[in-house]
């Protein structure tokens, strides 16, 4: 067996192999980085463009504990990044991840646009990105009035009129943010009530610059050189009208950045990574956390908790170097589904905290 890595060689002789490679530098990946680095594991965090993930695009984070006055998403991400680096995690900037491959010798390799990175364990925290609506004009007017980031582009709309599409937290909060610049902000939502947190709704309804376009969906972005309007249709009356806007911001949901994992780890129908309650994916030695994991809540607080758990489990894997056999039915559990009796699969005394034993 031709091996270029051996577990019985000292660390210095295999310095090209990290203990843990973390894919994604949002809150979950950076938290995992902090924990792994503090565990004195050689840790690399791959960050796409600027680290921070979705929160770096968030103007103000008000629901993350410890910041009673709120904190800008960019600053919060930057603090997490510095904290990870301070404990010794290496941050590497990349553009794309092409593949994750298990190796003949038991390690993993992650191929990016830059290089190939080897590690003994992998934590996947690739995050999500804004979903495209796919309506005519959306792609044509990118950078000329169509945006997914109010924080980035909002200031360009001083004294102008914009539309926000969506009814969740992001749509309402970013819409409110846009009222700092724009004279008027339409919120186009397919239902007649919002999904956003009540406190954000109260603020939105109290803001005279916000106008709600209920029961409506966008049909087309119109304009010549720049965006001049958004054609919307009322789903109840079927009436079509064009809102006179200079900008359109889409907040209609997200898609996980998991295409590179096809055929490598199990994902749900929407592409989110499936794990058990201990953040273990279907591939032994590979863990997942954060928004790209199949979980019921996409929040910083959630991502941070998952990142900590994934990091602790990855370190436990590195210590024990063993893989649980699949359950008798051969199925691994989806999040929230009936958990395999992992506790009973553990060696006596080794814990298994966090697992829900099957009755």
């Amino acid at each position: 067996m031709g091996l270029d890595i051996r577990i019985d060689l000292p660390r210095t002789e295999q310095s090209d192999t990290y203990d843990v490679a973390i894919v994604g530098a949002g809150p979950s990946g950076l938290t995992a980085g902090i924990y792994c680095a503090r565990g004195r594991r050689s840790t690399v965090v791959l960050e796409r463009n600027m680290a921070g993930g979705q929160i770096a695009l968030t103007e103000l984070v008000e629901n993350y504990p410890g910041f009673p006055d709120g904190i800008s998403g960019f600053d919060l991400a930057d603090r997490m990044k510095r904290q990870a680096a301070q404990f010794g995690a290496e941050l590497r900037e990349i553009t794309t991840v092409a593949s994750l491959q298990p190796h003949e010798d038991g390690c993993f390799s992650i191929t990016t646009d830059q290089e190939s990175i080897r590690s003994r364990a992998v934590i996947l925290s690739p995050g999500v990105e804004a979903k495209r609506s796919g309506i005519p004009g959306e792609a044509e007017f990118i950078g000329r009035g169509v945006s997914w980031c109010a924080t980035c582009d909002g200031a360009l709309y001083k004294g102008r009129t914009v539309a926000v599409v969506g009814g969740g937290d992001a749509a309402v909060e970013e819409g409110l943010f846009l009222t700092k610049f724009a004279d008027k902000v339409y919120v186009v939502h397919r239902r007649d009530e919002l999904r956003a947190a009540k406190i954000a709704q109260e603020r939105a309804f109290a803001n005279p610059k916000m106008e709600f376009v209920w029961d409506s969906v966008p049909r087309r972005v119109v304009g010549d050189q720049m965006v001049e309007g958004l054609e919307v249709q009322n789903l109840k009356t079927k009436e079509v009208r064009t809102l006179p806007v200079n900008g359109v911001f889409f907040y209609i949901g997200q898609i996980p950045n998991t295409a590179f994992l096809q055929g490598v780890v199990e994902r749900d129908e929407a592409g989110y990574i499936l794990t058990d309650a201990l953040m273990r994916t279907s591939l032994c030695g590979v863990f997942a956390c954060g928004d790209a994991r199949s979980n019921p809540l996409k929040q910083i607080a959630m991502a941070v908790g998952e990142g900590a758990l994934a990091a602790v489990q990855a370190q436990r894997y590195l210590d024990e170097l063993e893989c649980p056999l699949p359950a008798a039915d051969g199925q691994r559990p989806a999040w929230g589904g009936p958990t395999v009796p992992a506790a009973s699969r553990e060696r006596p005394g080794s814990g298994g905290a966090g697992d829900t034993p099957t009755p």
Binding site: L3, D105, F108, L283, C284, E320, E322, C323, R345
Partner: protein, 104 residues
């Protein structure tokens, strides 16, 4: 290291007169791939012990019979009886130390 199957496990391991060391492994198990070459080396160094490997995906009943829940699991048999059980990959020096008495 010779592979052993569900069919010849009893002949090769349980009913063998001497010492047999069985490596329970699977293709998808990274740590098994790490410890595999260590065991190959040891097989050459301890000719008095028979080293074999069992693919648990192909022999789930044997894994179940011996209560193997995690792999790699190394079972050390003597006169068909399990004398020692080691779970998880580890460096060669540690493995040799753990198995010291069995290896003789």
């Amino acid at each position: 290291m010779e592979p052993v199957t569900q069919d010849d496990f009893d002949d090769v391991v349980v009913n063998a007169p001497g010492k047999v060391l069985v490596d329970f492994w699977a293709e998808w198990c990274g740590p098994c791939r790490m410890v595999g070459p260590v065991l190959e080396e040891m097989a050459a160094e301890y000719p008095d012990v028979t080293f074999v490997k069992l693919n648990v995906d192909e022999a789930p009943e044997i894994a179940q019979r011996y209560g193997v829940m995690n792999i790699p699991t190394i079972l050390a048999f003597e006169q068909g009886e399990v004398k020692q059980r080691i779970v998880g990959a580890m460096p060669k020096a540690k493995l040799v130390a753990e198995l010291g008495e069995f290896l003789g």
